[in-house]
């Protein structure tokens, strides 16, 4: 495997959060940079949810300086989750049991294996990626109704080192990013949908103010979750999805 040209690589023994570190160093970077934290002391999930991150699990962030409009920048949620799927397929050796959950979770055997959180500020985008390589939190530690967490080790018996996954992810990401920049969202969307969980099935999308139950029809050209409820067809841009 070859480290992609033009991407920086730094590995930190310990860091509060790789995304926080990314935000601190973003201005000083001359190009995209991957930051791997072997140990994170203040890992965070969406909206401040704790993200359990023992040593041996994967925690890395990619710092980019995209120039597109914000709604286009946000589509990297799909670029990143697709690349992570590719990378996991590469390190595990096959893709059986892997699936994507809108907008950017990676599932293994129906459980949550990985989460991605993107943060855009001051001209930079930070893509934070967490993968339960060797350990997952107990189901009781996550929100009721959420997809139960799983680890790669427990599900497959394979022990993958964080640096090995970083190499695979950086390579896969560079390929998907190049496609995104060159051809736009269409090829990413198509590949993403081909790997998506629960298309055509009933799901629940909980937004900041409402919860909608309906059939997960597709992801539209803007990246929205398209849900057909009993009343309407809704395009949802931000929500937690429950199966």
């Amino acid at each position: 495997m070859a480290w992609p040209e033009g991407y920086g690589r730094r590995v930190l023994a310990e860091v509060d959060s790789t995304s926080a570190e990314g935000a601190r160093i973003a201005r000083s970077l001359s190009g995209p940079e991957w930051i791997l934290g072997l140990k994170q002391t203040a890992a965070r999930g969406r909206r401040g949810r704790p993200w359990v991150n023992p040593a041996g699990n994967f925690a890395a962030s990619l710092v980019l300086r995209p120039t597109e409009a914000p709604e286009v920048v946000a589509l990297r949620s799909f670029v990143a989750s697709l690349a992570l799927y590719d990378a996991l397929e590469a390190v595990v050796g096959d893709a059986s049991g892997l699936a994507l959950k809108w907008p950017n979770d990676v599932l293994l055997h129906g459980g949550k294996l990985a989460g991605i959180l993107l943060e855009s500020a001051a001209g930079h985008l930070i893509i934070g990626v967490g993968v339960n390589l060797i350990a997952a939190p107990q189901a009781a530690q996550v929100e009721a109704g959420a997809v139960p967490p799983v680890s790669l080790l427990a599900e497959t018996g394979k022990r993958v080192l964080p640096e090995a996954l970083l190499d695979a992810l950086a390579e896969a990401y560079a390929v998907r990013e190049a496609a995104f920049v060159t051809y736009g969202f269409a090829p990413i969307r198509e590949a993403w949908l081909a790997r998506a969980a629960r298309v055509g099935e009933e799901i629940i999308a909980r937004t900041g103010s409402n919860a909608y139950r309906g059939t997960f029809e597709t992801v539209d050209e803007q990246g929205n979750l398209v849900l057909k409820t009993s009343e309407a067809r809704r395009a949802i841009s931000a929500a937690d999805v429950f199966f």
Partner: protein, 166 residues
């Protein structure tokens, strides 16, 4: 604005201002439909309870197909510092994307801003989330937060006014 309605409009606005004051409201917006393509939008607001009542611009929307004689006036749409649509306010900061608004970095954290906050250019005003991307919306310039037009957790559309910054 057609003259025949002018006096009635003024009376109407005065009545609204009374309602505003008598009920101790800070803002009131009313749309009156006079007929097809002819309506009146009024917003009256008070900056502080003690402050005098300021009447917002009054604007009759003139139908495109109106007789030419009625046409010269539409340019008379008053240009002052209180446009009826907050998005048109010169101090409006609008949403660059469709998403969900968060007023603080994470639940339990203090809000980035409140009315009266002074901000520097580039300071985060709020977050708009879409596709699990947290977009920090920066202050386009230094100023004071005059109004916050959205609520935490609410969905916003592209171009929706978020904050008035002066």
């Amino acid at each position: 604005m057609s003259n025949k309605n002018h006096e009635a409009d003024v009376a109407f606005i005065k009545a609204l201002a009374d309602v505003l004051r008598d009920n101790d409201l800070t803002e009131l917006q009313v749309k009156r439909e006079y007929g097809e393509d002819d309506s009146l939008n009024v917003r009256v607001s008070r900056v502080q309870p003690q402050a005098p009542i300021a009447a917002a611009p009054v604007q009759h929307s003139v139908p495109v197909a109106a007789p030419a004689a009625a046409a010269p006036a539409p340019a008379a749409a008053p240009a002052d510092d209180l446009p009826e649509d907050p998005a048109a306010h010169p101090g409006a900061v609008t949403s660059p994307m469709v998403g969900t608004v968060y007023m603080q970095a994470e639940p339990g954290s203090p809000a980035f801003i409140s009315v009266g906050s002074t901000v520097k250019e580039g300071d985060t005003l709020l977050i708009v989330e879409a596709m699990k991307t947290m977009n920090h919306i920066p202050a386009p310039r230094a100023g004071t937060v005059k109004r916050i037009l959205i609520e935490d957790g609410a969905p916003v559309e592209y171009g929706a006014p978020l904050v008035i910054l002066e």
